[in-house]
């Protein structure tokens, strides 16, 4: 494990340890603030606050002239804390922090007060009261500024290697992408062969390309690539470490051997399984009732029973119901493809597809559906109130569009079932300390904008482990996850923020509530050792474990500080003292 190396953001000037000398800049933002607040009154009230040695308004604090003025005032008035009251920290906090830094102040000695978005813009109709509110906000900012401390940022080394869990199309695609970038990749596959679920398919929609040739091509590329090590028949049994410095243990199922894999990033590409619909439509009892995946295997083996007069495919079996409420995404297209293959094989075969909604989104799939109808595949819509039933070798269904009851005799009944998470996905999730959803699919960091990331840094996600994915989607997500991993692997070091949680080890009683709550896996527990340990020898064991925060993983959200019963945990930059001072300042008027 690499060790943290602390670096001082700046050499702390002596002035920072002296009594606070606070400078306050109040921005007009053109008309946006000055048009609705009484700026001269604000400046005057701020000048009276304790420890404020300089206060001034600024036409545009963020303009070149405004920033120059801030830098000059820091030097001239020996300011060691700076407050800017202006627009919003969302766009401007980093700019002012950088300005302080340029003038020799630690960036965490800057405090932002939002008097535009949270004051002038929302109280445009009452200058007097809006000014009073702004005055209160600035007073709070100044009270906090007086207690600000310079903070350190840490940096962490990164191992330029990735571990990819799952050797299906997604896992292999991600491995190749990273290997082409020069990173070392270990690809861990549970089965004895690479290829995942696509290894069992016949042809692929919508092009009818051969699944096997795609798998073979990728397996060859992966096997021949000098940067990729493939471990088959292997399961991940242990995961330690954090971004940049993970250590996985891969357990070989056949030989019982364990292998340790160091990695800077991890990609989860464990795929999903087809739901086996035990107990539905006599599946498992009547050999004529099979799933789509089993039909694919019959097609691969060229073992379709003959004569085949009628095939009935039933969509949404085990999906869109009370227990599995989602739509399987891939099953409509699979059914359309296989229906067309059967129809092409023998045009005399009648193929019915009993569906609820045909899920053929996007530019290319709609035509595919049309092609199937033109080929003579019969699509019959049913409603969940009247699902198809089997009686005396016939499928009974109420055709909603025809308004008629149909009784269809069948030689083969093919059940379209959704992809479901692999049963071991929850176990793997626990090892990785990442969440799964109610079904067991892995849960990404943000549904809209971080679909390939986990909340825990350094771990990424792709393919049907996340949600049932079409083949092209799995390839896209795999390349994407590789790019996300490469943003870490391509760096020698990664940096933390200074505003992270810290632990007072004397107060911590090791209850672990903080670690349970931390969304980012940033807290671990270590056993305290007795006495000073200057020679690097193991100290005497104490049996007392305390929390330790990994500053690179910590996002400074403060949830741990809230839950800590002994106040051992503090969010730097938002300490209890600072927040209390703000509250007192707010109530002081």
């Amino acid at each position: 494990m690499a060790m943290f190396r602390s670096i001082m953001q700046n050499l702390e000037p002596a002035s920072e340890r002296q009594a606070p000398r606070i400078g306050v800049f109040i921005c007009h933002c053109g008309h946006n603030i000055a048009g609705y607040l009484n700026i001269p009154e604000l400046v005057e009230s701020v000048q009276k606050l304790p420890q404020v040695v300089f206060a001034k308004d600024s036409l545009f604090a963020c303009s070149d002239a405004g920033l120059r003025e801030i830098r000059a005032a820091i030097a001239e008035h020996e300011l060691n804390r700076v407050v800017v009251a202006s627009c919003t920290p969302r766009t401007h906090e980093q700019l002012f922090q950088a300005t302080c830094e340029e003038a020799g102040l630690n960036r965490y000695l800057f405090e932002f007060v939002n008097i535009r978005d949270q004051c002038s813009w929302v109280h445009m109709d009452n200058t007097e009261r809006a000014t009073k509110k702004a005055s209160g906000l600035i007073r709070m900012g100044v009270a906090k500024a007086a207690l600000l401390e310079p903070l350190e940022e840490t940096e962490l080394s990164v191992l330029p290697a990735a571990a990819i869990i799952g050797g299906g199309i997604a896992g292999m695609t991600a491995a190749l992408s990273l290997a082409r970038r020069g990173f070392v990749v270990t690809l861990i596959e549970r089965e004895p062969e690479l290829g995942g679920i696509v290894r069992h398919l016949h042809k692929l929609y919508p092009s009818c390309a051969e699944a096997q040739s795609l798998v073979k091509r990728l397996v060859t590329q992966v096997s021949e690539h000098p940067h990729i090590e493939v471990l088959v028949s292997s399961e991940v049994s242990q995961v330690e470490g954090y971004i940049g410095n993970f250590e996985l243990v891969a357990h070989n199922i056949l030989f019982g051997m364990d292998l340790t894999i160091p990695a800077g990033a991890i990609i989860v590409a464990t795929g999903a399984d087809e739901l086996k619909p035990a107990g539905l439509y006599a599946y498992g009892e009547d050999p004529r009732v099979i799933t789509q995946l089993e039909l694919e295997q019959l097609l691969v083996a060229d073992a379709i029973p003959t004569p085949l007069l009628t095939v009935v495919m039933v969509q949404c079996v085990g999906a869109r119901n009370e227990t599995t409420s989602y739509c399987g995404r891939t099953c409509c297209l699979t059914a359309i493809k296989n229906a067309m293959l059967l129809k092409t094989r023998d045009p005399k075969t009648e193929v019915y597809v009993l569906y609820r909604d045909i899920e053929v989104h996007g530019t290319h799939f709609e035509d595919y559906y049309t092609d199937a109808r033109n080929l003579g595949v019969i699509f019959t819509r049913y409603t969940p109130d009247a699902p198809p039933e089997v009686t005396d070798g016939r499928v009974l269904v109420y055709d909603e569009l025809l308004g008629a009851h149909l009784a269809i005799p069948y030689d083969l009944m093919v059940l379209s079932t959704p992809l479901v998470p692999h049963p071991r996905s929850r176990e793997l999730a626990q090892m990785l300390k990442v969440p799964v959803d109610e079904y067991g699919f892995f849960l990404e960091a943000h549904v809209k904008l971080r679909p390939l990331d986990f909340a825990t840094d350094g771990i990424y996600l792709c393919g049907s482990a996340h949600w049932p994915a079409h083949l092209d989607e799995a390839i896209i997500q795999a390349s994407g996850a590789a790019a996300r991993a490469a943003t870490i692997l391509s760096k020698d070091q990664i940096h933390s923020s200074g505003a992270v949680s810290t632990v007072n080890e004397y107060l911590c009683r090791g209850c672990k509530r903080c670690a349970d709550l931390c969304e980012f896996g940033a807290i671990e527990f270590v056993e305290l050792e007795k006495g000073l340990n200057l020679l690097g020898q193991p100290g005497e064991r104490t049996g007392r474990s305390v929390a330790r925060v990994n500053p690179v993983l910590c996002k400074g959200c403060g949830a741990c500080a809230v839950v800590c019963p002994t106040c051992a945990m503090q969010a730097s930059h938002f300490t209890s003292q600072q927040v209390t001072a703000m509250v007192q300042a707010a109530l002081g008027d």
């Binding site: 699919f441 549904v447 390349s479 994407g480």
Partner: protein, 426 residues
């Protein structure tokens, strides 16, 4: 330092730029409009979590602008591309804003004084903006732009009020178009989509009936930063709209218009119905659909919730015609698929879920880049290499490839970034 070009500053372009920049590549992000943000900036909330669109987009825009490896070329276009994968030479032109980007702080004092009012394209003409304007309140860069077609100083040499007002001395009427030559290893195309103009579907009377609007117009109306401050008011009389009819597949899955399914509309109409109910509990929404499609993560559950808790009725049936009564209430005529009988429903507001179509200038851009388009006019790629265009070294992501939702666009953007990095660094 190796350089890459990203064309289009919507969420896909932003994500691709950030992923490339974080890998140490220098990224030139070229955006045609005055601000990055793209379509997502125009949306109110996003399905299925009802996250505020701008609130989640805005930090990404700021990250992009602040990233030391990203160079923003806003209000700019790509003019030519020569060379080959690993060594492209790209010429771009930056259109004159008539505002000095380095001096302007975006305070908007100039726009408050500008006497010239013009329909605001960001709000699809639902309100007026001035001839000097901020593209939208959270624009990045936060810089004003002068509309050369409507500014009376630029057209007639009269006025110049903005120049007198501006305390930052940022107005520059002499600004010229500026050409830049870039040398890049790879190109990512992320130019997004347009909405189909429903005027050609004459039976829906989009232009003749004021209370027949498009989904994008609806998004602006229900947005707190939109022209009505988020109050869902009818364009005809400003009355609150509480009975809503959503017309799915407007221009989609239709041989005369667009054969394909636009993918996102079933869920976005569901979201729009949910939002209306959250604004006003008296609202009831009717969604007229062909097939109800929602197979993305959490979508089906979202639709079920809309039906159970948010007064949303899903009606299977294609809308044949929209008429209007004397109070200008739209009357939706449809065939009920269950009974096969013609039915009608009077609503306060009819919202057309129009198709997602290629950008108006997609053929021109394809020509400039020398890449193939598919039969619909979207960028052509192959099943096994879904982000590689027909020209090596040029990759694509987001809705220029075809309709996609936000997470799909983001995943595609990261994928295109991976491919571009492989080539640019290879």
């Amino acid at each position: 330092v190796k350089e890459v070009l990203v064309i289009g500053g919507g969420i896909a372009g932003i994500q691709a730029a950030l992923d490339l920049a974080e890998q140490g590549l220098r990224v030139h992000l070229v955006e045609r409009l005055p601000s990055i943000g793209g379509r997502m900036a125009q949306l109110d909330k996003t399905f299925p979590t009802n996250d505020c669109s701008t609130c989640i987009l805005s930090p990404k825009m700021v990250d992009c602008a602040r990233h030391p490896n990203v160079i923003l070329h806003t209000y700019s276009e790509v003019q030519s591309v020569r060379g080959e994968a690993g060594a492209f030479v790209v010429e771009t032109v930056r259109n004159p804003r008539y505002v000095d980007e380095d001096r302007c702080t975006g305070c908007g004092d100039c726009a408050r004084k500008c006497p010239r009012q013009v329909p605001d394209p960001f709000n699809i003409g639902l309100n007026q903006r001035r001839a000097i304007y901020l593209h939208f309140p959270q624009a990045v860069p936060m810089v004003m732009t002068i509309d050369p077609e409507h500014c009376t100083y630029l057209t007639k040499g009269k006025c110049g009020l903005c120049q007198m007002i501006c305390q930052a001395e940022a107005i520059d009427f002499d600004q010229q178009a500026q050409e830049t030559k870039l040398e890049v290893g790879a190109i990512v195309v992320a130019t997004g989509y347009d909405f189909y103009d429903p005027t050609s579907i004459s039976q829906y009377h989009y232009h003749t009936y004021p209370n027949v609007i498009t989904a994008l117009e609806y998004e602006r109306l229900i947005s707190a930063s939109g022209p009505t401050g988020g109050h869902l008011r009818r364009p005809s009389d400003g009355k609150p709209a509480t009975k809503l009819g959503f017309v799915q597949c407007t221009g989609s899955r239709h041989v005369q218009h667009n054969r394909y399914c636009s993918t996102v509309c079933c869920v976005h109409s569901t979201k729009e119905a949910v939002l209306a109910w959250e604004h006003n509990r008296d609202t009831h929404s009717y969604i007229f659909y062909t097939d109800l499609r929602g197979s993305g993560k959490g979508f089906r559950e979202y639709m079920d919730r809309a039906e159970q808790k948010y007064a949303t009725t899903f009606v299977r049936g294609r809308v044949a015609q929209i008429l209007e009564d004397p109070e200008q209430n739209p009357i939706i005529k449809y065939e009920d698929a269950l009974t096969s009988r013609p039915q009608q429903l009077k609503v306060d507001l009819a919202v057309l879920a129009t198709s997602l179509v290629p950008r108006f200038d997609a053929p021109q851009l394809a020509d400039t880049l020398d890449i193939e388009l598919d039969e619909f006019g979207f960028v052509q790629t192959e099943l096994f290499s879904p982000n590689d265009t027909s020209r090596p070294g040029v990759f694509a992501c987001g809705c220029c490839l075809g309709p996609a939702d936000i997470p799909q666009s983001v995943a595609q953007a990261s994928a295109a970034a991976a491919r571009a990095a492989e080539i640019a660094l290879g």
